[in-house]
Symmetry: C2
Subunit: 304 residues, 2 copies
Amino acid sequence: MEIKQEIERRAAEIENLIASYLPREEGWQKTIMEAMNYSVMAGGKRLRPMLMQETYRLFGGNRKMIEPFMAAIEMIHTYSLVHDDLPAMDNDEYRRGKKTTHAVYGEAMGILAGDALLNYAYETAIKAFDRGQEQDALSQTDYERMVAALQILARNAGIYGMVGGQTVDIESENCPGMTKEKLDFIYHMKTGALIEGAMLIGAVLAGATKEEQRIVSKTAQQVGLAFQIQDDILDVTGTQEVLGKPVGSDEKNQKATYVTFAGIDEARRQVEQLSADAICSMESLTGKNVFLTELLRFLISREK
Amino acid sequence: MEIKQEIERRAAEIENLIASYLPREEGWQKTIMEAMNYSVMAGGKRLRPMLMQETYRLFGGNRKMIEPFMAAIEMIHTYSLVHDDLPAMDNDEYRRGKKTTHAVYGEAMGILAGDALLNYAYETAIKAFDRGQEQDALSQTDYERMVAALQILARNAGIYGMVGGQTVDIESENCPGMTKEKLDFIYHMKTGALIEGAMLIGAVLAGATKEEQRIVSKTAQQVGLAFQIQDDILDVTGTQEVLGKPVGSDEKNQKATYVTFAGIDEARRQVEQLSADAICSMESLTGKNVFLTELLRFLISREK
């Protein structure tokens, strides 16, 4: 079996699951539902829910309460892209070869659609309590795990996670004072935090021990960092056709990246090292989930 | 005791409580915390947490788990103002006599500060589980009530509540097709939903019955509508000095309001009727909470 095809098959499965949690387009406020659904269904690797689900399975999880969290983390990822694309932010008209949300619905509705998605992510995550209950009455442990999962989601998406990273990223634009330390912080928070959140929620909901959670966190951080450096490399070496977005945009925007800091060879070496470390960490937990190991390997060596 | 002074005293108390839930301004991402705290501490009547607290007390609630929800609903109210004030939305440079968030921190940070506040509202609300646990171990009933409160918060803040109302409001701007039915929807959702959410969370956390919750919802809707119509009236009759914002801005923006629809006398009559109904409903529940009745009376007859 070709791993790339298996990943695509699972991404399609996850996309259907996410779609089932999206709002129906109805009522006076129909436009906002359309803008939300357009944004979420405009493509994407569905990486975060996939990592969440695989980590959940790795620790023996098999209940439906994971589903709302999978949908929620993809909604949060999507809202961050919708707002990132706004004229006052990166001002992008296209993403993955499609018009961005504000380009289709206007700027005001773009802001509101992002807000709506973020809020709906929590409205969705809270459904985990109902989904859990459909199968069995919830135990004290079930409640504790779901509350912990909500805490991880909120913390990693907010000012101590993704939004924190975006803040420093925005402040650093066109600003000559970038240091390696600051760049590490941005990568760690802006991309790493949500990937860490995804894997950690899977682990916590399945009942992983504290020590196991610690290893999952560390691995996720390595994956997030490798993933982001690979993005920087592709921005230099990729083709517009494959990427679906202009090549060399970092250079155009005078953006400091791992490649501008360390050079492309050193960046490639770092991706190798980080992914080897991540795979080792995961295999130290268990050798059972072959797909997860392959997924990590694939993500880091990807061409788009 | 002058009710106005008592309301101000309690608002100051609530402001301190909210402040204690705001993030410390520290780290690389310090600016976002500053922008959040600036936005929340820029004044306001603290109406929603006050109504929540009073409704909680009305049904005998006396635990600390209400506090994170009080802070959270004010954060959600504040984020909605921060985003409403953005150039792509109402484009306001001043609110309550102070510079708006984007006017101080720039447009990108204004968008991000709103996002951060919305996310932090959930991060904060989830702390209710911890606050509850500090006093007594959480029972099954405690968990159920807090999950229900989270559901109300998310639903009333989102596309089936506040954001839904904002969507229709934005779409209706400069659009001649406004009907009374659509205006009712906007008021019901944009202002009413969060006020309803506030009071309902208070009721649910304190263990109000389904029938009591129904009456609270109905009352809150009447209060929200009366509050919004009073706003329309003040926009015509108020003075800039008292309001802290330009008078007649609705007319300038060609905004359809209850006053433009029904005339000022009919609008005044409606406020009277709605507030009388709301007070009757609350008193049908219990005559004990004199402050809540007085607060409703005051809010509706206010001059700013």
